[in-house]
């Protein structure tokens, strides 16, 4: 039920957002502020085999930070170009999946975030269902996708990947699967800076659910270590 609802909500959102985005770019010429910027120059590497239809469906999602993530994926970090603000896991995945897709790095970025979104929404449904009714779980999933910035979950941004790992960490903690909770929290920290915020709730959950044993709080420490590791990589 969780996966079916997540997939249904995702597919409706995906179709509506794609149609709306295509319509929005078709009404008038666009002033691209990034032309000449190193990030914009990666656009030819991001989707090398584009056609007018491909442009309309995928090219409209090559915007702002997506260019940064693809730049980091292709060229790595540079100390003075601002790339260090972008966490390493998503670019690493773009590089791996993009290689498998024959150099279609924009497609890879969108594929990763969209798959992560479906999994994240299904996990969120299951997490909410632990405490509340199915109707609350369904509404929660819909509200998240319809939220004013919800289209970033469909774009080549890190929000959906982070959401997937963060929800997985909390869900695993609720099921007392501490190994999975720790690994998921660590991956969340490698996806976005605020993965650190998982340390406290995981520590609380471990402390509360296991007779107050402080040894059970190690997943929280792993989450912090993930964040620290991000900076050591950079």
């Amino acid at each position: 039920m969780a996966l079916r609802w997540a997939l249904s909500v995702y597919l409706i959102a995906r179709v509506l957002a794609s149609v709306w985005a295509a319509a929005a770019v078709s009404v008038a010429p666009i002033n691209v502020p990034y032309v000449g910027h190193p990030v914009y120059e990666t656009i030819h590497q991001a989707y090398p085999h584009h056609s007018p239809l491909f442009d309309l469906l995928l090219g409209v999602w090559f915007r702002w930070d997506t260019g940064w993530y693809i730049k980091v994926a292709l060229q790595g970090y540079h100390p003075s170009d601002g790339s260090v603000a972008f966490a390493p896991l998503y670019p690493l995945l773009i590089r791996s999946v993009g290689g498998l897709l024959g150099g279609e790095y924009l497609l890879a970025a969108l594929l990763i975030s969209n798959v992560a979104l479906v999994v994240g929404l299904a996990l969120l449904y299951k997490l909410v269902s632990l405490d509340f009714s199915e109707s609350v779980a369904r509404r929660t999933v819909v509200y998240l996708v319809v939220f004013p910035a919800g289209f970033f979950l469909l774009a080549g941004y890190t929000e959906s990947l982070f959401l997937c790992f963060a929800v997985l960490a909390l869900y695993a903690a609720r099921r007392s699967n501490w190994m999975l909770a720790g690994v998921a929290a660590c991956l969340a920290s490698l996806t976005r800076l605020q993965g650190w915020a998982l340390a406290l709730p995981l520590a609380y959950e471990a402390f509360r659910g296991n007779g107050g044993s402080p040894l059970r709080t190690w997943p929280a420490l792993l989450a912090v270590a993930g964040g620290a590791d991000r900076y050591s990589i950079i």
Partner: protein, 113 residues
């Protein structure tokens, strides 16, 4: 901090959206104290604090509407307090309308968040 720049500078559309998002988030975090398991509340409160501690010169509440996406426990609270059909319809209408505007700007290379 982001709040300082919010008080000091002039507002544009993105700032209004970011400010409204912050106010909604703070309200839901407050209500979440009673409605949610402390685990989720801690996650949301700490994350929101991290977002508010950021500082971007000349940008008020920088990208708050996008950052708030990962505060998923807030959506649980919202789902809990909008059990009536009319209430959820209002939320969906306002959210969808704002998303259409922001997405339209985003794909036209306008910075939204």
């Amino acid at each position: 901090m982001a709040v300082n720049s919010l008080i000091a500078g002039p507002l544009n559309f993105q700032d209004v959206v970011n400010t409204l998002t912050l106010l909604l988030s703070l309200f839901l975090i407050l209500v979440g104290l009673w409605k949610l398991r402390p685990t989720y509340w801690l996650y949301t409160a700490v994350s929101q604090l991290i977002f508010l501690m950021g500082h971007w010169e000349g940008e008020q509440l920088h990208s708050m509407v996008r950052y708030s996406l990962v505060l998923f426990p807030n959506m649980i609270v919202l789902a809990l307090i909008t059990r009536r059909r009319w209430a959820s319809s209002v939320v969906l209408f306002v959210f969808a309308l704002l998303q259409m505007v922001l997405l339209g700007l985003f794909v036209r290379w306008v910075w939204v968040a």
